[in-house]
């Protein structure tokens, strides 16, 4: 009886808000100290790299785990009501620290660097942003990024939807074959795909054997070999095409599932009412899957905003094919102008933000 009273009183104490906040602070601090200690330990250790790697694995995975067990142990000593209120913080605490250290802090630092000069030492106001929006090279870069943003989602989603609808009408065997082929590029890394396309666009002077597929076909029909990747401004389209080639499969798979979800009763009703197949497509299928189309489009949009690999492998931004993400890398790591690099990163972040918020709202609404 007495025991019970004491427990409930303890519970009241632990339900006290300042204490809850206190515990929720202690957890991250302890996590941070453990991770920091292990980092210092591994950096200072003069052991073979393989051993360090194993220790990193054990401390990284096991250390957090052990910490969680210990905290769990501690919290479970408390009476049940206090435990219930404290336990969530034990779960969330380490994740919050990791988020803080690896995402929020660098983001804040990037934004503050974007107002600084070349070495990130002196404050220069909006200079880097003025550069990003007015420099002639940057204007071409922005133009290219705009082209990417416009063409890749539009074409990939259009193709994906068309293929999804057409494949839906094939026999199951052919549907599988067709979809597999179109989905396959998705399985290749951006760098891998770019290398494949480098060979397709490869150029040799006239009179040499054309080992690039496109030039081999072109010269077979009597044309002079074309330097596809140096032929501005069209070279941008040849790069964009690679991305479309890779993303159509993704759009197709998601849209195909949505198309299959259109109730056949709805389709039949439309047909009985006299709608032709084209009318059914535009007036029934598209409105029905419009939510999915939007989701796929925004997903591809975010991907394209960050596009780097294809440009890096194919042209390294030369011949006026640069995009914002590539220019960001160039400014920060090649020209070592951290201010400009950070400003471009911030611009990219701001551009992604509304799309992200829109996507999240969409997801919440559906739930």
């Amino acid at each position: 009886m007495i025991e019970q009273v004491r427990n409930s009183r303890l519970a009241e104490i632990f339900a006290w808000t300042p204490l809850r906040i206190g515990v929720s602070l202690v957890v991250p601090v302890v996590t941070f100290l453990v991770l920091n200690w292990s980092f210092q330990f591994m950096r200072a250790a003069a052991a073979p790299r393989a051993v360090i790697a194993v220790v990193a694995l054990v401390v990284g995975v096991g250390g957090v785990w052990a910490l969680f067990l210990a905290m769990n142990q501690l919290v479970s000593q408390f009476p049940i009501r206090a435990r219930d209120t404290l336990l969530p913080y034990v779960f969330v605490g380490p994740a919050l620290v990791v988020l803080m250290v690896y995402i929020i802090l660098p983001a804040v630092r990037t934004v503050s660097l974007s107002f600084m000069g070349r070495r990130g030492e002196e404050f220069i106001g909006l200079g880097n942003y003025v550069f990003a929006l007015t420099d002639p090279g940057m204007i071409i870069t922005l133009r290219n990024t705009g082209l990417w943003l416009l063409l890749v989602p539009a074409v990939a989603v259009t193709f994906g939807l068309l293929i999804a609808v057409i494949a839906d009408r094939m026999s199951e065997f052919w549907e599988r074959i067709a979809k597999s082929f179109i989905f396959m590029p998705m399985a290749i890394s951006f760098v891998g795909a770019s290398i494949i396309w480098r060979f397709i666009y490869f150029y040799q002077p006239a009179g040499f054997e054309q080992i690039g597929l496109l030039n081999a076909i072109w010269t077979y029909f009597g044309g002079d070999p074309i330097g596809w990747l140096t032929w501005r401004p069209w070279n941008n389209l040849f790069l964009i095409w690679i991305m479309i080639w890779m993303q159509t499969g993704f759009a197709m798979v998601i849209l195909s599932a949505a198309v299959k979800g259109v109730p056949s009763a709805l389709l039949d009703a439309a047909r009985i009412d006299g709608a032709g197949e084209i009318r059914v497509f535009f007036n029934v299928i598209i409105p029905y899957v419009s939510g999915t189309i939007l989701t796929v489009t925004t997903t591809i949009l975010i991907l394209v905003l960050k596009i780097f690999d294809v440009v890096f492998v194919m042209t390294s931004g030369q011949y006026q094919t640069g995009v914002v993400a590539f220019r960001m890398y160039q400014e920060a790591f090649i020209f070592r102008h951290f201010g400009r690099g950070s400003a471009l990163a911030t611009i990219l972040f701001l551009a992604v933000l509304p799309i992200m918020i829109r996507n999240m709202k969409e997801m919440r609404a559906r739930r």
């Binding site: 090279g137 002077p205 140096t230 931004g317 030369q318 102008h337």
Partner: protein
């Protein structure tokens, strides 16, 4: 339930203890006692530093890295200091990250002094004059070289490898068959090119594609021509930004280059080829049978890019001549590049390695392998394994003026950015004045 939860905890503790013990066990063991004492050498100042380790990080990889490691062997054997070289094609990006991230290598082998200047300004490089005499360095290197390594009143590093760029490679059988003479002036070079066109040959093979570095072949030409058409002081002013790109000197140099580059009859495949062919492949047409092009201007290292499986004898199938002078008053200058080794951590064993690197002996293994020119004054010419290597070394020694690749010394935004891009744009047909103005605008203010 609680019992099970505790078992892994115990396991964790045990595991961590085991690894801690492993750490202790893995401390590098003392090396075997050598025949010669580790103090008996000219580099460690009588200290016994055996068992210590020095890490060098650089841009050269593969065979070059092996040759370098080989060259370090005499030092390792005599001092017992382990020298470990690590190379990466992404050196430029990684060295910045490592320096800023407080994880610098002991020594960094910079292929571009401009990059080293940046790190000097960031306070990441240690002055070698802290422990070396200037007199000693002057005795080991020509003054031109020392001047390039110096920045902000600090001697940033020591030179290890030189690369001579003012070379024109030519298809020797073609020259012999047609009786072409080696040109000694620019006019003779142009006259020879015309003669070749008249005889139905492509005089030049040029290719500048080089991934992120596309354009450097063009900037090399401009620099080489600059040295031949303007005084060395103008060249130095250009490097520091005191002479703008939009100046008569630069315009004149671009004009000379265009005389060859933009002449579709001269260049195999015309401007499209220039822009698209990888620089390493541009030598190939010279060694085809029959040769598809007669001449190719490139630094000595291009012979490492000769296609595999093609039997090319240097001196028979392929040879070189000096990129001819243009104006007699500027004589015969030479454009060079090279690797400068900067010290980023100050420990006695690192100083010892730096001392070793100032001596020709530290290059011997690589030099004897071939394709290497040593900037050290104490390197005897008879170490060079072939006439070709010796010939290139002699060109450098006999030059009236030696200047370093200008784009490598300019700020990164220009030297590895707008200058390259600008030349690419110009070759693609952009107006020269606009291009030069764009490069000037990109020069950093601070």
């Amino acid at each position: 339930m609680r019992r099970y939860a505790r078992a892994p905890l115990v396991l964790m503790v045990v595991l961590l203890t085991v690894f801690a013990l492993l750490f202790a066990a893995c401390e590098p063991a003392e090396p075997d006692v050598e025949a010669t004492a580790p103090t008996d050498n000219p580099w460690t100042e009588g200290e016994d530093l055996s068992g210590t380790e020095v890490e060098i990080f650089g841009a050269f990889v593969d065979t070059d890295a092996q040759n370098f490691q080989e060259s370090m062997q005499p030092f390792i054997e005599q001092t017992g200091i382990e020298v470990r070289y690590e190379g990466s094609g992404d050196f430029e990006a990684l060295i910045t990250v490592r320096a800023e991230g407080a994880d610098p290598p002991d020594i960094a082998a910079f292929p571009q002094p401009g990059l080293m200047y940046d790190l000097i300004e960031g306070g990441h490089v240690i002055d070698v004059l802290d422990f070396m005499d200037r007199d000693y360095l002057e005795q080991q290197y020509a003054e031109d070289w020392l001047a390039i390594a110096e920045h902000d009143g600090l001697m940033g590093g020591v030179w290890y490898r030189a690369s001579v760029k003012s070379l024109v490679w030519y298809a020797k059988p073609l020259f012999e068959q047609e009786g072409y003479e080696i040109p000694e002036t620019w006019d003779e070079l142009v006259a020879l090119s015309d003669q070749m066109v008249a005889d139905g040959y492509n005089p030049w093979s040029i290719g500048i594609e080089s991934a992120g570095a596309t354009g450097w072949v063009a900037t090399d030409w401009i620099e080489d021509i600059m040295l031949r058409t303007a005084p060395p002081e103008a060249y130095d002013d250009w490097v520091t930004g005191d002479l703008p790109f939009a100046s008569d000197e630069i315009r004149r140099a671009v004009g000379y280059m265009s005389e060859i580059w933009l002449n579709e009859d001269y260049v195999l495949g015309g401007t499209t080829s220039i822009l698209t062919v990888p620089f390493g492949d541009a030598i190939n047409p010279l060694v085809m049978d029959p040769p598809r092009a007669a001449m190719h201007r490139q630094a000595q290292f291009i012979i490492a890019f000769l296609p595999e499986g093609v039997d090319v004898e240097i001196g028979e199938d392929l040879d070189f001549f000096y990129f001819p002078m243009i104006d007699e008053q500027y004589g015969e200058p030479v454009l060079t590049a090279g690797d400068v080794f900067g010290m980023m951590e100050d420990r006695p064993e690192v100083r010892a390695v730096m001392r070793y690197l100032t001596q020709g002996e530290s290059t011997r293994a690589w030099l004897e392998y071939g394709g290497f020119v040593s900037p050290h004054e104490d390197t005897p010419l008879d170490w060079y394994p072939t006439d070709l290597d010796r010939g290139i070394a002699e060109i450098m020694l006999n030059a009236d003026t030696v200047r370093f690749d200008a784009s490598d010394m300019m700020p990164g935004a220009v030297g590895t950015g707008s200058f390259w891009t600008g030349m690419v744009d110009y070759i693609q047909g952009d107006d020269l004045d606009t291009v030069l103005q764009r490069i000037d605008d990109s020069w950093p203010d601070d």
